[in-house]
């Protein structure tokens, strides 16, 4: 049958596309339809089913930090996934507590996804809460001051580049109005996040750098699952 493709270009084209689409559809369109957890945010209140907690969206400052993470290519050296291997759960655990395995429902708000492929540096899936701001400040100024032998680049410009949240807060006001009108849970959550952030930052909001945004983002990583003390930093 495929012999026909020797002499007929149309035949060759049709046959190669049909074969391609069988696998293409089966591996891209079908899986999210079969596995609902790919699109369902993590939420668990039952201790017997594993770690409790829920996945929240990121606020404007954290999103700005995430954008810097994407821009600076941190993801070429750092993964964000605790795999189903002891080597991962033990290595990235905390004071004897194993790091929970990453599940699809912890990533539903991520775009672009930051799973990564290469661990030139350690995995960051559960980095949130591990180090305080001071640690990160020294580390981003020059990693080798803190960790001898590190090959992570220094990122001095994060301390001078400003982050402007006025646009975010203006948008949040619109969202708050819509949220009040529609009671859409997604909008309500976003409005609440913005209000919290505004209250927390106060006058500081006018004076933020990309470093502040980056730390805010890093501290959220891996915290949907309640698996360790909130601010028990390593010195």
């Amino acid at each position: 049958m495929l012999k026909k493709a020797d002499t007929s270009a149309i035949w060759a084209i049709v046959a190669s596309l049909v074969l391609f689409f069988i696998g293409g559809l089966m591996t891209t369109v079908v899986p999210p339809m079969v596995d609902k957890s790919w699109g369902q945010p993590f939420a668990n209140a039952d201790k017997s089913k594993g770690p409790t907690g829920h996945l929240r969206r990121l606020n404007g400052l954290e999103l700005a930090g995430r954008a810097v993470y994407v821009r600076e290519g941190c993801w070429y050296c750092h993964t964000q996934q605790i795999r189903t291997l002891l080597a991962d759960t033990k290595r990235y655990g905390w004071k004897g507590v194993d790091a929970p395995i990453s599940t699809p429902d912890e990533f539903v708000y991520d775009s672009p996804h930051m799973f990564g492929t290469k661990r030139t540096g350690p995995d960051l899936a559960r980095i949130g809460g591990r180090y305080d701001t001071q640690w990160h400040r020294t580390h981003f100024r020059n990693p080798r001051d803190l960790v001898k032998g590190s090959i992570m680049p220094a990122f001095p410009w994060l301390f001078t580049n400003k982050v402007d949240l006025t646009g975010y807060f203006a948008e949040a006001d619109v969202i708050a109005q819509k949220a009040a009108a529609t009671k859409d849970p997604a909008l309500v959550e976003q409005a609440a996040l913005a209000a919290d952030l505004k209250a927390k930052l106060g006058p500081q909001a006018a004076n933020l750098t990309e470093f502040d945004a980056m730390v805010a983002y890093l501290q959220t990583l891996g915290r949907a699952k309640d698996w360790r003390e909130a601010n028990d930093y390593e010195k």
Binding site: L2, A5, T7, A9, A12, I13, A15, S16, L17, L19, F20, I22, G23, G24, M26, T27, T28, P31, P32, D35, W38, G39, V70, R71, E72, G73, Y76, C77, T79, Q81, R83, T84, L85, L86, A87, R91, S102, T103, P104, E106, F107, V108, Y109, D110, S111, P112, H113, M114, F115, T117, K118, R119, T120, G121, P143, K148, G149, I151, P153, A154
Partner: protein
């Protein structure tokens, strides 16, 4: 049937009167070797940063995180794909016994491609990165890629449609497959991803990343190898049947394997198992192709001594065989648990894109350049030197990274070793990689200089 193939292969004998303008080929060839050289410098810089992390470290646009995507995109799209497109423009009219459908459209495609690559250089250094591997380019640039690809596709398909010989040689199937699959694979990786998040998006991204190699660079690279090996050695292809087995099994099997990039990761187990099963099945198309090409050379191996194209082609075939043996093996869960996320992976990736497919493209360029410019190759000795430099540098690069990566993974699996110790342990490995990179780069310079000197050198009567 077989007769027609050998006639198509014999090329000029059958075509007689046709004079190929090859303007498009010249555009693609000269721009691709320029990017090979320029992006080669970037490659050295990022390899050096593993050894001297403070090198050029305080300027944002020279940081590792911006140079690496420039290296990857520059090499894949600026060098390799452009070189492959140029060679497709060279081969298809010759196999079809007609002129290229439209040289004007071809040259326009070449110019557009250069605009895209230059745009990529500026935007990537400025940190404008979409955040998906191999799909970093900003949306306007990826739209231009699609436009350029459609122009390329139209030109090649129209040439095939107007062909003089009805029977199509294997290379033509591979090129047509590449044209069509690429279109869908590229759209998935660059546009469908926009409408998804999280694991769903990652799944589409890996489908693209994997098939960028498997359904773009593999078919066009094999098309080139299938054409130039019989051509350069003046030997007919061993088996037409076997080439069919190779092509059609590739068409079916390759696309299923994307999820093997997320083994043990947060993606459905059943999908991981499917990806593993199909990764192992990939041995079928690979062995069919490699056997066919190796047997074609039976009794002709002595020709490697004085034909540099054949040196590159046959080494490329061997690297292809090794890469595609390594791939299925490290898709197995036990092996994957050691080597995934380590330096083994760049060792593997470079054997494919540098070892196999760049070797095919370099060989094709060495073969085609004297013919399209109507000159003699500037220097055969220099060409041989370029082969040995890239070959030895390449082996140094691949082998040290496999050993180093395996050792790194082994250390990670012992959780009593702090992470930073595993970084320090790899420094000698990264030093050897840098030195091998310098050798590869020296080979690239010799190659690029040789082709440029051929293009600009004096006219000769003997070549053509």
């Amino acid at each position: 049937m077989q007769e027609q193939f050998s006639r198509a292969e014999a090329g000029s004998a059958g075509t007689g009167a046709i004079v190929h303008e090859d303007l498009t080929v010249k555009w693609f060839m000269l721009s691709s070797i320029s990017y090979f050289f320029i992006v080669g410098i970037i490659a050295l810089v990022i390899a050096a940063k593993f050894v001297w992390p403070d090198l050029m470290g305080t300027t944002s646009w020279l940081t590792y995180g911006r140079m690496r995507p420039l290296h990857v995109n520059g090499m894949l799209f600026g060098w390799l794909l452009a070189a492959d497109m140029g060679l497709t423009f060279y081969i298809v009219p010759r196999l079809c016994g007609v002129k290229l459908w439209s040289e004007k459209l071809g040259v326009a495609t070449g110019i557009l491609w250069n605009i895209i690559i230059l745009g990529a250089v500026v935007s990537l250094l400025a940190g404008r990165n979409k955040g998906w591997e191999y799909a970093e380019l900003e949306t306007p640039l990826s739209v231009l890629v699609v436009v350029a690809w459609l122009m390329f596709t139209a030109n090649i398909l129209m040439t095939v449609a107007k062909r003089k010989y009805q029977a199509m040689y294997v290379s033509i199937w591979y090129f047509m497959g590449c044209l069509l699959w690429t279109a869908f694979v590229y759209l998935t990786g660059n546009f469908a991803t926009m409408f998804t998040t999280g694991v769903n998006q990652a799944n589409l991204n890996w489908m693209y990343v994997h098939n960028a190699v498997g359904l773009i660079f593999t078919p066009v690279g094999l098309g080139i190898a299938y054409y130039f090996i019989p051509r350069a050695s003046n030997t007919p292809l061993f088996s037409h049947k076997l080439s069919m087995v190779g092509f059609w099994s590739l068409a079916f099997v390759y696309v299923w394997t994307g999820a093997h990039h997320m083994l043990h990761g947060p993606i459905s187990q059943w999908l991981q198992t499917i990806a593993i099963a199909f990764s192992v099945m990939l041995l079928i198309p690979v062995w069919a192709v490699v056997y066919n090409l190796l047997i074609t050379m039976k009794g002709q191996w002595h020709q490697l001594r004085d034909r540099v194209e054949l040196k590159f082609l046959m080494s490329g075939v061997i690297f292809y065989l090794l890469t595609c043996f390594q791939g299925p093996m490290h898709s197995l869960r036990t092996v994957n648990a050691i080597v995934s996320k380590t330096d083994w992976i760049p060792g593997h990736a470079h054997m494919a894109v540098l070892g196999a497919f760049s070797f095919f493209a370099v060989a094709g360029t060495y073969y085609a350049a004297p013919r399209i410019f109507g000159k003699n190759l500037f220097s055969t000795a220099l060409a041989n030197w370029s082969y040995w430099m890239i070959m030895i540098g390449g082996l140094g690069f691949f082998v040290t990274l496999w050993l180093g990566g395996f050792w790194q993974g082994w250390q990670w699996n012992d959780v009593s070793i702090p992470f930073i110790k595993t970084v320090i342990a790899l420094k000698p490995i990264w030093t050897v990689r840098f030195v091998s990179g310098v050798m590869i780069f020296a080979g690239i310079v010799m190659f690029a200089y040789n082709i440029m000197a051929t293009a600009l050198g004096p006219q000769s009567e003997s070549a053509a």
